[in-house]
C-alpha cells in the first residue's frame, strides 16, 4: 500500500462517483475496512508457521427509490477499479427486484458511546518475535505432561479500521484490535492407550489479558478428563452445562433465533412467543455492545449505528422488543435499529449478529450445584447444535462426565442428549455465580432438571 493511501478520501470518492452518475437513486453507502494480522501456528507441539498479512477492501451499496439494491466490492483502489465497482453495482441495482420493506439507510447520528480498551496500541506495534513468549507457554504445558502427546495451537492478532459513509449523513470510523489463543491437546491414557482431545481458547481486545498457559492447561485438563470413557444406561437426570456447554446449547441457538431476519422469515422456534414467558425465572439474557474492553463492543455497528445494551430475556420472559435488528429489519417493524448490523468483511452486505451476548450469573456456587446431584450428567462439549426452527436438540456428548453422589466421575462414550429448548429453558433450576467468556459469549454453569440421556450400555 502506498503511503498516500487515504481511506477517508476513498469512501468519499466512491459516493461522489455514484452521485456523478446522476441517476435516480434513493441512497448509497461506501464501506472500507483495513485489516492487518499476525498469526503463529503450532503443530505437533512445535512452531510451524509464522504468518503476516493484510486485507483491505471497499464496497458500495446503492438503492433506487423502490428499494432495489446493487452491491459490489474490490480490493483494488485505483480509480478505474472504483469506477468499475460503482458501474457494476448500478447495473445490479437495475436488475434487482423492488422492495417496499426497504425504507432508507440510517440517518446521521450524533452520540456515539465512549468505550474504553477496545484498541491496544501494543498489538499494532507487535512484531512476530514478540509472540514467542506466548508460544513458549503453550508448548511447555504440553511438553511437561506425560499423557499429553500432541498439541495444535495458534496465536493471532488483528488490527482493524473501518470507515462507513452514506448519502444520509452517516460518517464514522472505528479502530479496534483483537488477539486470541487457542489450544487443542491430545492426551493418551497410558494403560488403555485410549486417546482424547481437549480444546480451549481465549479472545481479548488487549494483549496483556492473554493467558496462554491457562488456555493450554484448560485444554489439557479437558483432554485428560475425557479419558477412560464408559458407556452409560438410558436415564432421566439433571444436566449441568459448563459455560462452554451453555454457549453451544443455549446462547448460540438463541442468538440465531432472535435474529430479526430469521424471525421475520418465520424460521425461528420463538415465533409467536414474543412477550411470553419461555423459561425459568433464573434465565436473564442481554446483548450488551458497550462493555469496556469486551471483544463484541464497538462504538457502532456495520451500518454506523451506535452500539447499546439490549435486554432480551428477563426472569424467563422473552421481551417484546428482544430481537436483534439491522436498519432493514427494524424498518420492517417500524422501529429503530438495535445496532446489530454485522458484516463478515467489506465483501458482504450487513446481516445481523450479536455484540456481547450474556447469560447473566445467578447466585449458586458451581461446587454446590454439583454437590447436590446424586446422579446426573456434566456436558461440556457436543459437536451438535439445536434446530433453530423447531428448537429440537438431539446430540452426541463429545466431552461430558457422569456426576455421581455429588462428584464428577468418568467421561462418557456414545451418549446422547435429547431435549426441546423450551423444556430446557423451563427446567433451569440453578445458575452459578461463576461465569466464563468465550469471545462474544458469556455464560455461567447452568443446571437443567429432568433431561433425557440416551446411553448405549445394555
Amino acid at each position: 500500500m502506498s503511503n498516500n493511501f487515504d481511506p477517508y478520501r476513498l469512501v468519499q470518492k466512491v459516493l461522489n462517483l455514484v452521485e456523478e452518475k446522476n441517476i435516480n437513486i434513493k441512497c448509497s453507502e461506501a464501506y472500507l475496512s483495513m485489516d492487518e494480522y499476525l498469526n503463529v501456528d503450532i503443530e505437533e507441539n512445535s512452531i510451524k508457521y509464522s504468518k503476516l498479512g493484510v486485507e483491505n477492501g471497499i464496497s458500495v451499496r446503492i438503492f433506487d427509490k423502490k428499494g432495489a439494491c446493487g452491491f459490489a466490492f474490490t480490493n483494488k483502489f485505483q480509480n478505474k477499479y472504483l469506477e468499475n465497482m460503482v458501474q457494476k453495482a448500478i447495473k445490479l441495482m437495475k436488475g434487482a427486484t423492488p422492495d417496499i420493506d426497504f425504507k432508507n439507510l440510517p440517518k446521521k447520528h450524533k452520540n456515539y458511546p465512549n468505550i474504553k480498551n477496545i484498541y491496544d496500541k501494543n498489538i499494532k506495534a507487535l512484531e512476530v518475535e514478540d509472540a514467542s513468549r506466548y508460544i513458549e507457554d503453550l508448548i511447555e504445558v504440553c511438553r511437561n505432561d506425560k499423557s499429553a502427546i500432541s498439541q495444535s495451537a495458534d496465536f493471532k492478532t488483528n488490527c482493524s479500521e473501518v470507515f462507513i459513509l452514506n448519502s444520509n449523513g452517516i460518517d464514522i470510523s472505528r479502530k479496534e484490535t483483537i488477539c486470541s489463543i487457542s489450544s487443542y491437546i491430545i492426551a493418551k491414557d497410558q494403560e488403555t492407550k485410549e486417546t482424547s482431545f481437549g480444546y480451549d481458547w481465549q479472545a481479548v481486545r488487549n494483549i496483556e489479558e492473554l493467558n496462554a498457559k491457562k488456555v493450554a492447561q484448560n485444554a489439557l485438563k479437558k483432554a485428560k478428563r475425557n479419558l477412560k470413557r464408559k458407556r452409560v444406561r438410558k436415564m432421566r437426570v439433571p444436566l449441568v452445562l459448563t459455560p462452554q456447554g451453555a454457549i453451544s446449547l443455549i446462547l448460540r441457538p438463541l442468538s440465531l433465533a432472535i435474529n430479526a431476519e430469521t424471525f421475520q422469515y418465520k424460521r425461528s422456534f420463538l415465533v409467536g412467543h414474543r412477550g411470553e414467558k419461555i423459561g425459568s425465572k433464573l434465565m436473564n439474557i442481554e446483548d450488551n455492545g458497550v462493555i469496556d474492553g469486551a471483544t463484541g463492543s464497538s462504538i457502532c455497528d456495520d451500518e454506523g449505528i451506535p452500539n447499546k445494551n439490549k435486554k432480551i430475556i428477563e426472569k424467563g420472559k422473552f421481551l417484546k422488543y428482544g430481537l436483534l435488528h439491522n436498519s432493514y429489519t427494524a424498518a420492517k417493524e417500524g422501529i429503530e435499529s438495535t445496532g446489530n448490523a454485522l458484516r463478515s468483511s467489506y465483501s458482504s452486505p450487513p446481516g445481523i449478529g450479536v455484540n456481547n451476548f450474556i447469560f447473566l450469573s445467578g447466585d449458586s456456587f458451581k461446587q454446590d450445584i454439583i454437590k447436590e446431584i446424586s446422579r446426573g450428567i456434566l456436558l461440556d462439549y457436543t459437536g451438535d447444535s439445536p434446530n433453530i426452527s423447531t428448537g429440537d436438540f438431539s446430540g452426541l456428548i463429545l466431552q461430558g462426565n457422569l456426576i455421581k453422589n455429588g462428584e464428577i466421575t468418568h467421561p462418557l462414550n456414545e451418549t446422547m442428549v435429547g431435549i426441546n429448548l423450551f423444556d430446557l429453558f423451563n427446567n433451569i433450576s440453578a445458575v452459578s455465580k461463576e461465569s466464563k467468556t468465550y469471545g462474544k459469549y458469556s455464560a455461567p454453569y447452568i443446571k437443567v432438571d429432568n433431561v433425557n440421556v440416551i446411553g448405549s450400555a445394555p
Binding site: E55, K76, P349, E414
Partner: protein, 481 residues
C-alpha cells in the same frame, strides 16, 4: 506461457531475482497469485436480497527453511511489493525455524510447466448477469408455487473465476483458470406451528452449463417437495437397526468419519485413529476407498460437467492423481502434502490445498469415493425385516481422536419386511468409524457424487464425495423419542 496482463510481472527476471534473494537462506519457496472475479445472486421469497459482484487480486508468498515456514499475504501485485514481501517472508521462515523442534527438508521434485484452461460450453465470464438472476428467479418461483404450506424460500447462486499462477523454487510455473459455480435452494414449510426445512445444492467446476442439467433444474422442486413431506414425517424410535445409506450419505460418511483420519497432518499430529496402521486390515475385504480429483476432468463420470471437487494441480504444484486409501480392506496410503510426504518418506499425492492464495496449503481431500460392489438396491432392501433407509446428509461431526461420530439424515424411511414405508425425520446415526466399516454387508452397483465445501483449520475447499448405496448392520439410531 502466454500469461494475462496482471500476471506478466512473473517473468524470468523476477524469478531470478527471487532465487538470488533466497540463496543460502531458504530450502524451498512458492508464490501463488490469483486474479478473481465473481457474482452472487441471492433471492428470498421471490425478492432479490443480495446481488453482488467483485474483482480481487491476492498473492501468497510461502517460504521454508529446515522445518520452519513463513507466510505473507499481500494484495498489491507489483514487482516491488513482491520483492519486499519476499524478503519479509524469508525472515518469517528463519524465525519459525529458530523456534521449531521439528527439523526436516522438503524433498526436491522435478519442475512442471503447465497451462490449464478448462474447455467450457458457457463460459461464466460471458454469461450476462441477467441470465444468472433469471436462473435464481425461476428456482424461487418453482419452490414458492409448489404448495401453500411453503412459508419461506431462499435461493443462492454464486460463481467465481480464479486465474491462478503458481511458481516455486523447483522451477515450476503452473497457470490454472478455475471457473466454479454453485446453486442452493432452501425451502421452509409450516403446518400447525411445525417448521420443516430442506436444502439442496448443485455445484460444478466449469461453465454455466451445469445449471442446464436435469439434476440442476430439479433442485428447487426437490427442496419444496421434501420440505412438505417432512411436515408429516414421524420421529424415529431409538435403537439398533440395519440401515441402508444412500450414495450421498455413504459419500459423506466416507469423507467425514474416515477421510479426515487419513490426512497425513492429522497422523503426524497424532489426532487420528489410524496412526501407524498402514498395511493393517481396517475394514471388510469388500471395502475399497480412493481419492481421485481428476475423475471429473477426464469425464469418467458420464456427467456433462466436471465435478465440483475437481482440480488438476494442488496448491503446491503437485499433479492430482488417483490414490488408493483402502484396498480390499487394507489401509494403503495417507493423503499427503509436500511437507507430510517429505517427513514420512512418501511421494506427495496432490492433497496440499488452500482455500485461497491468502492461506497456506493444508492436507485436504479432493474427490473421495467408496468403490461400488455388485448389489442391486432392491436385493439389499429385500432382506431387511425391520430397518431404516437413510437419505441425504443434513450434518454430522466426528471426534478424530476417538472415532466417535454422529450424523443426521435429512429424511429417512422405515423398512418393513423388505419394503420402504413411512417417512421419518431427524434420524441420527452414531457409532465408531471403524466399527461401521466392518459392519457393511452389501455394497451397491452404482456410484453417485455430491459436492460440498469442506472446512478445516478455518479454511474451506471444494470437495466431492461419492459412493453407492450400502447396507450396514447394527447401527445406533437416535431421535428425540
Amino acid at each position: 506461457m502466454d500469461l494475462i496482463e496482471e500476471l506478466k510481472i512473473f517473468d524470468d527476471e523476477l524469478i531470478e531475482r527471487l532465487e538470488k534473494l533466497s540463496r543460502n537462506k531458504l530450502d524451498y519457496w512458492d508464490i501463488r497469485t490469483a486474479i478473481k472475479t465473481g457474482v452472487t445472486v441471492e433471492f428470498t421469497d421471490n425478492k432479490s436480497k443480495e446481488l453482488s459482484t467483485y474483482q480481487k487480486e491476492n498473492c501468497g508468498i510461502r517460504t521454508f527453511y529446515n522445518g520452519g515456514w513463513g507466510f505473507l499475504s499481500i494484495e498489491d501485485i507489483s514487482r516491488k511489493s513482491i520483492e519486499l514481501g519476499f524478503e519479509k517472508a524469508i525472515k518469517l521462515a528463519i524465525l519459525s525455524e529458530s523456534q521449531t523442534s521439528t527439523n526436516y527438508k522438503i524433498k526436491e521434485r522435478d519442475p512442471i510447466t503447465y497451462d490449464f484452461q478448462l474447455e467450457t460450453k458457457k463460459d461464466l465470464e460471458n454469461v450476462d448477469i441477467s441470465d444468472k438472476i433469471e436462473l435464481v428467479k425461476n428456482h424461487e418461483q418453482i419452490a414458492n408455487q409448489y404448495n401453500s404450506q411453503i412459508k419461506n424460500t431462499h435461493s443462492l447462486y454464486y460463481d467465481s473465476i480464479t486465474k491462478n499462477l503458481f511458481i516455486n523454487s523447483f522451477g515450476s510455473k503452473i497457470y490454472q483458470k478455475e471457473p466454479i459455480s454453485r446453486l442452493f435452494c432452501v425451502v421452509y414449510a409450516q403446518k400447525n406451528g411445525l417448521i420443516q426445512k430442506s436444502v439442496n445444492s448443485i455445484g460444478g467446476f466449469g461453465g454455466f452449463e451445469v445449471h442446464d442439467t436435469q439434476k440442476a433444474k430439479n433442485i428447487s422442486l426437490k427442496s419444496a417437495k421434501e420440505a412438505i413431506e417432512l411436515l408429516d414425517a414421524k420421529s424415529p424410535k431409538g435403537g439398533k437397526f440395519t440401515i441402508i445409506m444412500d450414495p450421498e450419505l455413504t459419500g459423506t460418511f466416507i469423507h467425514e468419519a474416515f477421510g479426515h483420519a487419513v490426512e497425513a497432518d492429522h497422523i503426524l499430529n497424532k489426532e487420528s485413529i489410524l496412526v501407524g496402521r498402514i498395511g493393517e486390515k481396517v475394514a471388510l475385504e469388500e471395502v475399497t476407498i480412493t481419492d481421485d480429483p481428476r475423475i471429473g476432468i477426464v469425464r469418467k463420470t458420464n456427467l456433462p460437467y466436471e465435478l465440483f471437487g475437481s482440480y488438476m494441480f494442488d496448491d503446491e504444484g503437485v499433479p492430482s492423481q488417483k490414490t488408493k486409501i483402502i484396498e480390499n480392506g487394507i489401509l494403503k496410503n495417507y493423503l499427503h502434502s509436500l511437507e507430510t510426504a517429505s517427513r514420512m518418506n512418501e511421494n506427495p499425492n496432490g492433497h496440499g490445498r488452500a482455500s485461497s492464495v491468502s492461506s497456506y496449503p493444508q492436507v485436504r481431500m479432493g474427490i473421495t469415493v467408496l468403490n461400488p460392489g455388485d448389489w442391486k438396491l432392491e436385493d439389499m432392501i429385500g432382506e431387511i425385516k425391520d430397518g431404516i433407509f437413510c437419505e441425504s446428509f443434513q450434518y454430522g461431526y466426528t471426534d478424530p481422536a476417538s472415532g466417535n461420530f454422529q450424523f443426521k439424515c435429512k429424511l429417512s424411511y422405515q423398512i418393513e419386511n423388505g419394503e420402504k414405508t413411512k417417512m421419518m425425520r431427524d434420524v441420527s446415526l452414531s457409532g465408531m468409524t471403524l466399527e461401521i466399516l466392518n459392519k457393511i454387508t452389501a455394497i451397491g452397483k452404482e456410484v453417485d457424487y455430491s459436492d460440498g465445501m469442506c472446512g478445516k483449520g478455518g479454511q474451506r475447499v471444494r470437495v466431492c464425495d461419492g459412493g453407492p448405496y450400502i447396507r450396514v448392520e447394527d447401527v445406533t439410531i437416535g431421535g428425540l423419542n
